[in-house]
């Protein structure tokens, strides 16, 4: 009897504590997911929607602008995420060395980009990478190039610029997760390896990477979701141009909903593509990491 009463009381408080979050989630997360599914079967002109069955999917398969946005987003993902995570891991393992001088300075400096707003830094980079801008002036000054690089106006270089910008902004962010995880690895593990004659590089691959596997998986998934949602940077750095060379899926969905004649139905269908890819990539990442 007593146990039963205690259990009920516990259960009761449990519900009260989670209640507000559940109401808000039901309203602003679960309901929109369902609404979006229904919308994806309709074709809309503004607020007037008609049933369209699988018409949106058919349209999507033939939509060349969407194919381009899809390809761009994937290029950003496949190039940027591995470079960023490797760099973050290298920086973190260097900064984990307690004998390193100026550790605090390096850590703060490399983390600093993380506090800037995506819009603010994109606009800043747009100015730096202008045709006559600072970066080109510098590259010509050290005679690395003979004429300015068309960073923002050439299809290839515009992609490069966005990748550079993303690396600048997010490497330090991921580094902090690795640093935090490394602090929990006792330094004795490394000292023992040192005694056994393992080189620093061997230590990195044999100790650091395996021990950090869960957190690497976590950052990989977060970066995947982040890259597939890419919006602020291309919007403010290149505007999606030149001729859609940096247009991302998110930006195309935004255009379909709020720039062109709004077609919420088609936009909803496109947005499920992102959900679908995130799910697939996450499963792959779990499989590669070999957990569960």
């Amino acid at each position: 009897m007593l146990r039963r009463a205690k259990y009920n009381k516990k259960n009761y408080y449990g519900w009260i504590f989670v209640f507000t979050s559940l109401v808000l989630m039901a309203t602003f997360l679960i309901y929109p997911i369902i609404d979006s599914l229904i919308l994806s079967t309709k074709s809309c002109k503004g607020i007037v929607c008609e049933p369209n069955g699988l018409g949106n999917i058919k349209r999507m398969l033939n939509d060349e602008v969407f194919h381009k946005a899809f390809k761009n987003t994937f290029i950003f993902f496949i190039v940027q995420v591995p470079i960023m995570l490797t760099m973050a891991l290298m920086l973190a393992s260097m900064l984990n060395n307690k004998k390193l001088k100026y550790r605090g300075f390096f850590r703060t400096a490399i983390f600093l980009p993380t506090v800037t707003s995506l819009v603010a830094y994109s606009v800043l980079f747009k100015m730096m990478f202008g045709y006559e801008g600072l970066i080109n002036q510098f590259l010509m000054f050290i005679q690395l190039v003979n004429e300015p690089i068309p960073w923002l106006t050439n299809a290839f270089w515009a992609k490069v610029t966005i990748i550079i910008a993303l690396l600048w902004r997010w490497t330090g962010y991921n580094m902090v997760f690795y640093l935090a995880a490394l602090q929990n690895v006792s330094s004795e593990v490394y000292e023992a390896a040192e005694v056994d004659g393992a080189s620093k590089i061997q230590q990195f691959f044999k100790i650091t990477v395996p021990l950090l596997k869960p957190i690497i998986l976590f950052t990989a998934i977060m970066s995947t979701i982040g890259t597939l949602q890419l919006f602020d940077e291309p919007m403010n750095l290149t505007g999606g141009g030149p001729s859609n060379a940096t247009l991302t899926i998110s930006q195309y969905i935004y255009n379909q909903s709020f720039v062109y004649v709004p077609n919420f139905g088609y936009a909803a269908t496109l947005s499920y593509v992102i959900v679908f890819i995130v799910a697939i990539l996450t499963i792959i990442q779990f499989k590669v990491a070999g957990d569960e």
């Binding site: 506090v115 707003s117 100015m127 969905i253 995130v278």
Partner: protein, 269 residues
Amino acid sequence: MKNVRNSLVYIFLGLASFVSIFPFFWMIIGITNTTQDITKGKFTFGNALMVNIRNLFDTTDIFGIFWNTSKIAIIGTLLSLLVTSMAAYGYELFRSRIRERIYTVVLLTMMIPFAALMIPLFRLIVRFGLLDTHMGIILPTIVNVFLIFFFRQSFKTFPREIIQAARIDGANEFQIFFTIVVPIMKSTYSAAAIYSFMANWNNYLWPLIVLQSSEKKTLTLMISSLSSAYFPDYGVIMVAIVIATLPMIIIFFMLQKHFVQGMLGSVKS
């Protein structure tokens, strides 16, 4: 050999730090230069600072916009910390089978990108009559699944004896939470506060959709529209960027110690 390796490490870290900090230097130099000088890549101080500041004040309602941004970020952060930490406490301290299942679903929703939600959310906000209001921006951002996860990980390490002792002393569950747990978890709350404040302060896409009248705009929207103008005034934009970035840097340095501790707490278990 060891020396060579050491200097390589310092060169690498030095280079990474330089690249990281450089745009900040350039931003400070930029606010003192004219648009012509900035576009030409001039890298020395100029004397246009006062002109740029005056132009910003003349062309935009910078005080109002700063106030809007602060209001959204502060209210959003406070509500978010309250709701997500209470939820995390509920899941962690009062475990039950149903709530564990719900928690799994909650975590899975982290996978749903915002792009998939923005259209139905927009329709919802319109139906609630919250279009072009600050409340319309704040409401959908209160429940942040990452924060629930973050708080729950931290509550795992909270000593249960303290809670038991308080119960015996006759405190009810809310008193325990607000007067004992919250003050002890200060570091966790600071880390979560930085995270949440930053997300709200820098939010762009959602305010872009919800806000329409110019007097309700936020800093990110203002910077974006200044930059996409036909003849953008780079000096003015630089001042605006500094105004948008400085508060974040100050808050970060003030709470940095708590932030790292809080992060450690969340990763430990």
